[in-house]
Amino acid sequence: MNNAIFSLKKVSKVFPGVRALDGVDLHLYPGQVTALIGENGAGKSTLVKTMTGIYQPDGGEIIFNGKPVQFHSPHDSHALGITAIHQETVLFDDLTVAENIFLGNYPMTKHFSIDWSTMVTRSQEILSSINAQMDPNQILRELSIGQKHMVGIARALSVDAKVVILDEPTAALSHHEIHELYELVNTLRDQGKAILFITHKFDEIFTLADRYTVFRDGCYVGEGFIKDTNEAQLVEMMVARSIEATYPKKDVEIGETLLEVSNLCHTTEFADISFSLKKGEILGVYGLVGSGRTEVMQALFGTTDHVTGTVKMNGKEVIIHSPKEAIDNGIVYVPEERQKQGIVLELPIYQNVSLPQMERLAKHGQIDEEGEMALARQYCERLQVKASCWDEKVMNLSGGNQQKVVIAKWLATNPKVIILDEPTKGIDIGSKAAVHEFMSELVDSGLSVIMVSSELPEILGMSDRILVMNEGLIVGELSRADATPEKVVSLATGGSVAC
């Protein structure tokens, strides 16, 4: 334990209403890969931001090379050789690839000026060392998501790093790219760097990692050597309960075809999307980040321009060019980016719930506050939203309760199809279970659900049927009985069902 190069001891981080990290420990060793394992919301991303000086911890100690250190800004941690590849790409769209790699650490000539030619040649070297084929002079905006990710990795390698943090690096990569990344991690390990690898994919943990640390709900659960453990043990540490119980999927009688989408196309984002949805069905849509699944759902909801193809509800063609038309046709969308797209944080709960149907509730254009309140009371109670009063601002609620308000808002419009995009992303386990339970109730009461998710257990546990998307196309359809984690992942990463 003494030779750890980088340690966190009893580190805490508190946000208003959330204890994101609660006295966690973590140790990284030179020449070893430590996997940090935990569900969404376990505090992994907060930890990365604390380690890189983006957040300042509210308690505990950070120890580097045996000495306690304090990071006042990302610059401080950078200076010690701690570099991170963040989950969201933190790059500059309008700058060149080379500059993105060296920003914050420009090579300089003797005359105090930036040495652009060295920058380009060194970028070329780094990029070819990770097998990324691109021109360092290209503007980042012109690259694909996968390529941008490689730039992010190249950026982390541009400095003489002692500690490399990879925050879910494979989420947006194709099968082929993932294997190249593995090799890269192995090279880094051989160079003696301490590596923190954050993931929730078990195959990655067992191929790559030497050690593991497990977090749950912002708390440290345990650590050890990978060779001394197995998957079942890790799962148990991660969730502390069996998986089956989490997915209360009820068997519901599936009715007539309700929604029929055929040949939906977009110029750059997706093509030839055809599927149908039956009454009482939960249709799971799986795909990697950037596979076009959210774009398809948003097109269905009318927020995207330049879409061709037909959408039929109950056999009749409907034209949807705006959310208003989608709502009028009984299609509602619970977005992935809840706080940005789903809800108006600064408005009270009841006003959020009534927002899509203000006009129906109003009398001669004048607001009927009593009616709004009654609506909010009815649906928020049904969803068991926890709040001190219905007049409270949504921003004061926890993530899970905010999500419930979004769902309440849409249920109040009496929809026929409800699209849930990553419905449980970033919410605590308790609320997660409540959302899943509620999904079951929804289909029981005759609604149809489309659920987009990148969490395999959720997709497998809740869906009646699964569509898999890759690079803007539907690459497979699996029934609940046929679907296995291997099949789904293989399809999503560009393989075929056979393997």
Binding site: S73, P74, H78, D94, I114, T268, G290, E471
Partner: protein, 332 residues
């Protein structure tokens, strides 16, 4: 490479400016003579310098509406110092103008940096404060040419290689900016802080401080231009450069500096300013009343931002890995 140059905003804009320039030359050959070209450049020098300062501010997602008021205040201040202490050396006066300008710019910058107050509100406020302070300073009186010393008026007019010092100052500013914005970390920080403030923060760039520097530079240049303006027109009064901030912003917007930050070049900015300079100088020659000037710059701002907005839209991200689409990308 050549194709890329021609299709770039700077390329298109240069062609338009040159076309305008020679177009007017067809009507009046004197317009394109070397001496007149130098004089157009000289006339535009102040606009160029202010636009370069404003570019830094706009790059960091802010805006500085107080530049013209800063010009008026600093101009009045140095003019009055010159009036009462005519024996004071010019280098001291220039230093003074830089210092006062920097101070006024720093006030804007500090509010934006430390309090994170929207720059439009702060500079809208300081715009009227600085202008009002000019009135308080001068008590509404004018400082006329006969109250200024000879060297005070003569300096920007002094010709080196048949170009006045004023023009050389603009050239120096352009060269300095060109180097700083391309080859200094300090200059590149404006692009990163404005292009993606969050990512810039992750990379160890102090975004607020960069914004402060932008206002500081914009203020310093405004201070210098305050002296140059007053000296060039040989008069200082409260309404000096009234509304000029709009022309400065127009020069930036026309030159392709994106109002949402992070995008813009020194070359574009200078051509944007020259565009306005050529238009202003050409109007009397082609027989259009100077009253058209304001409407034209308004129209040009609108057209330029529309052009910016439409060209941004084409750069959508791409998910489909469709061979045709890829070919198109390669072709570009």
């Amino acid at each position: 490479m050549l194709k890329r140059l021609i299709y770039s905003r700077e390329g298109v804009l240069s062609i338009i400016v040159l076309a305008m320039f020679f177009g007017v030359g067809v009507i009046s050959p004197d317009f394109i003579s070397l001496s007149n070209s130098v004089s157009i450049f000289n006339d535009t020098s102040i606009l160029i310098m202010l636009a370069l300062g404003q570019m830094l501010v706009i790059l960091t997602r802010c805006i500085d509406l107080s530049v013209a008021a800063n010009v008026a205040f600093t101009g009045m201040f140095v003019a009055m110092v010159n009036q009462y202490f005519p024996e004071l050396h010019m280098s001291l006066l220039i230093f003074l103008s830089l210092f006062i300008g920097a101070l006024l710019g720093a006030i804007n910058g500090l509010f934006v940096w430390l309090l994170k107050v929207p720059s439009i509100v702060i500079t809208l406020g300081t715009m009227s404060i600085y202008r009002g302070a000019t009135f308080l300073l001068s008590d509404g009186a004018w400082v006329n040419s006969h109250q200024m010393s000879e060297s005070f008026i003569g300096l920007p007019r002094y010709e080196i290689l048949s170009m006045p010092v004023l023009g050389w100052m603009a050239i120096a500013a352009i060269i300095l900016f060109f180097w700083a914005m391309k080859f200094s970390v300090w200059g590149r920080n404006f692009y990163s802080a404005g292009g993606n403030p969050m990512a810039a923060f992750y990379s160890g760039v102090n975004v607020g401080k960069v914004q402060f520097y932008a206002f500081l530079v914009s203020g310093t240049l405004s201070g210098l231009c305050g002296y140059l303006w007053v000296s060039r027109f040989a008069v200082a009064y409260v309404d000096v450069a009234n509304g000029f901030e709009l022309q400065v912003i127009a020069a930036c917007v026309i030159g392709g500096v994106s109002i949402v930050g992070g995008l813009g070049t020194v070359v574009g900015c200078v051509i944007g300013a020259l565009f306005i300079g050529v238009v202003n100088n050409a109007l009397p020659i082609i027989g259009v009343s100077p009253f058209w000037q304001m409407a034209i710059s308004g129209l040009v701002i609108i057209i330029a931002v529309i052009a910016n907005a439409t060209s941004d839209k084409d750069k959508a991200r791409i998910i489909l890995r469709n061979p045709n689409a890829n070919d198109e990308i390669r072709a570009n």
